[in-house]
């Protein structure tokens, strides 16, 4: 090669939108200097399916099956927060038993999602043995989910006003066996993930997100908790059965004595949350009351109730990846007039930028995977009319919010 051709430093490395290291389409652009990342940028939007738009043309009984399919991993999370929003608009009281069943399914989903993530993280480190081992143990949670809901993925168990299937007494033994299996597995999982030299070398002090950055970027879920932000919707804003249960946010310093906000801390938080979920399901099974599982079993009656509903409400749920937020407005029609979904990855994606900058190119897969991104939840479309841009700053939003409160108080 001729020496006189000058290399442009920094040079650009594009990754995506289809790349074997990414399970979902997203486009990354890295400014590199040698092996070091100077600047990182990403462009989501390749998996936009217009779910909100379609939802505003369907009725909520149909939408609960659409919300299952916003994300194939957190199927019950979106449905739960959507159903809670609609129930608040309609002023429905959900039977207590249904609340407990919802919590049990949501916690089983967390178990399978966190073990799934642990396997993917091991794969991104090049440790495929651990991928296969963790996905083997995950299958037991999938078996119980299939027993309880009838499907491995996209459970379709939540209906507006309750749940569609009950947990029968003869299923309790299978559930307890599965929970005992995961309790016995806890020490082993922590050992293979946290005491492994390779994982320690690759993950310690890699992809650091400081406490200040985590707060500034509004991260949620395990990503925020691994940076020492004590937040969990199940604790801060109890719903379903969580108000009756003993629960506190899992933070990495409880196990390690310190919080560094690196990839290793995110592994710690997720593995400990598996154990927390096991404990929560045990509490639910002890406390679950007898009674109805739905507010109204007849679909036509639910549909006619939609036509009487006026108002707006939000539903929140702590999904495996963090807070899921649904806003629904109904104006006396069968379908909602406004429906806005804010998935957990939507809040977490921006934390990629401070995590990736300064790291090496080989760390990209594990750092990207460490927030457990879910782009199918996140991708939205932006409409530009007449070339005008409208960007709302935080201050403007606060001002609008204060104005609305004043207006309502008048």
């Amino acid at each position: 090669m001729s020496d006189d051709t000058k290399k442009a430093v920094p040079y650009t490395v594009p990754i995506g939108p289809t790349h074997p290291a990414l399970k979902e389409p997203v486009m990354f652009t890295f400014q590199m200097e040698g092996e070091r990342i100077l600047k990182a940028d990403f462009a989501p939007g390749q998996a936009h399916r217009a779910i909100e738009w379609m939802g505003m043309r369907r009725n909520p009984v149909q939408i609960v099956h659409l919300t299952d399919r916003i994300c194939g991993i957190c199927g019950v999370s979106h449905t739960l927060s959507f159903a809670r929003a609609v129930e608040q608009v309609m002023e429905i009281e959900v039977p207590e038993r249904a609340d407990y069943i919802r919590a049990i399914i949501a916690e089983f989903e967390r178990i399978q999602s966190h073990i799934l993530w642990a396997g993917v993280a091991a794969h991104e480190l090049g440790y495929d043995t651990l991928l296969h081992l963790s996905w083997r143990v995950r299958e037991f949670a999938m078996d119980v989910l299939e027993l309880l809901t009838g499907n491995r993925v996209n459970y379709g168990i939540i209906q507006v006003g309750g749940v569609r299937r009950d947990i029968t007494p003869d299923q309790h033994e299978t559930i307890h066996n599965c929970l005992d299996y995961y309790s016995d597995l806890k020490a082993k999982l922590l050992q293979v993930f946290l005491e492994d030299k390779t994982i320690q070398m690759r993950c310690r002090d890699c992809g650091v997100l400081t406490h200040e950055e985590a707060l500034k970027l509004c991260t949620v879920g395990p990503t925020a908790r691994a940076s020492g932000v004590k937040m969990d919707v199940r604790v801060d804003y109890p719903y379903a059965a969580y108000g009756d249960l003993e629960i506190s946010p899992v933070l990495p310093d409880a196990y390690l004595g310190e919080t560094r906000g690196d990839v290793y801390d995110r592994i710690v938080v997720r593995l400990l949350e598996v154990d927390q979920s096991v404990d929560l399901i045990r509490q639910c099974l002890d406390l679950i009351p007898a009674g109805d599982i739905t507010w109204e079993a007849k679909i036509p009656k639910i549909l006619s109730a939609f036509k009487k509903a006026h108002g707006e409400a939000i539903g929140r749920h702590e999904a495996p990846r963090g807070e899921v937020f649904h806003y629904v407005r109904m104006d006396g029609k069968e379908h909602p007039t406004t429906w806005k979904v804010k998935a957990s990855s939507y809040s977490n994606l921006m934390s990629w930028i401070p995590m990736l900058e300064g790291e090496q190119i080989a760390d990209i897969p594990i750092v990207v995977a460490s927030i457990d991104p879910c782009l199918s939840c996140t991708d939205r479309v932006a409409i530009v009319r007449d070339g005008r841009r409208g960007i709302m700053t935080k201050e403007e939003l606060t001002r609008l919010s204060v104005e609305k409160t004043r207006r309502l108080m008048r």
């Binding site: 390749q46 991993i73 296969h132 879910c374």
Partner: protein, 144 residues
């Protein structure tokens, strides 16, 4: 370059996500892991379409992914088999009336095997792969 039948390659698959909800992705990976373990027959996911015999497509093909799907399809060497995993790739599924779809998949590229389900079970995906393998062997026999 097929010397004898015993020198035949194992089936390698490339997975393409055309805007799916992740459900099918997870079930495809679950299919590859120890409970079902098709890797004992040499069936595995590869990182490049140029190494693949089988293209697994999930998702309803959103507009931005259509040119990429075509590019990936063209990079796979002949003979190749395309397998469409999941209801939304077959008909649009629950996303049938979306404004952002260029699919279903068989509007964009020719599909050989359809695996229905939302998402299909791992057993269903393995059955589809067996059918794809049969078709691939037939196509290899037709090559000069």
């Amino acid at each position: 370059m097929n010397i004898t039948k015993s020198f035949n390659r194992s089936l390698w698959a490339f997975h393409f996500n055309s805007g799916s909800c992740n459900g099918c992705e997870i079930e495809i990976v679950a299919t590859l892991t120890p409970r079902y373990d098709p890797e004992r027959f040499g069936i595995k996911l590869v990182g490049s379409p140029k190494h693949a015999d089988l293209l697994l497509v999930t998702g309803p093909v959103v507009k931005k992914m259509r040119p990429r799907l075509l590019r990936v399809y063209e990079q796979i060497p002949d003979p190749k088999v395309v397998m469409c995993v999941g209801a939304c790739g077959i008909s649009g599924g629950p996303f049938y009336d979306s404004y952002n779809l260029d699919g279903p998949i068989d509007d964009v590229i020719p599909v050989d095997v359809y695996v229905p389900g939302c998402p299909p079970r791992p057993e269903g995906i393995i059955f589809g792969v067996v059918r794809a393998l049969q078709k691939l062997e037939r196509l290899q026999g037709e090559l000069p």
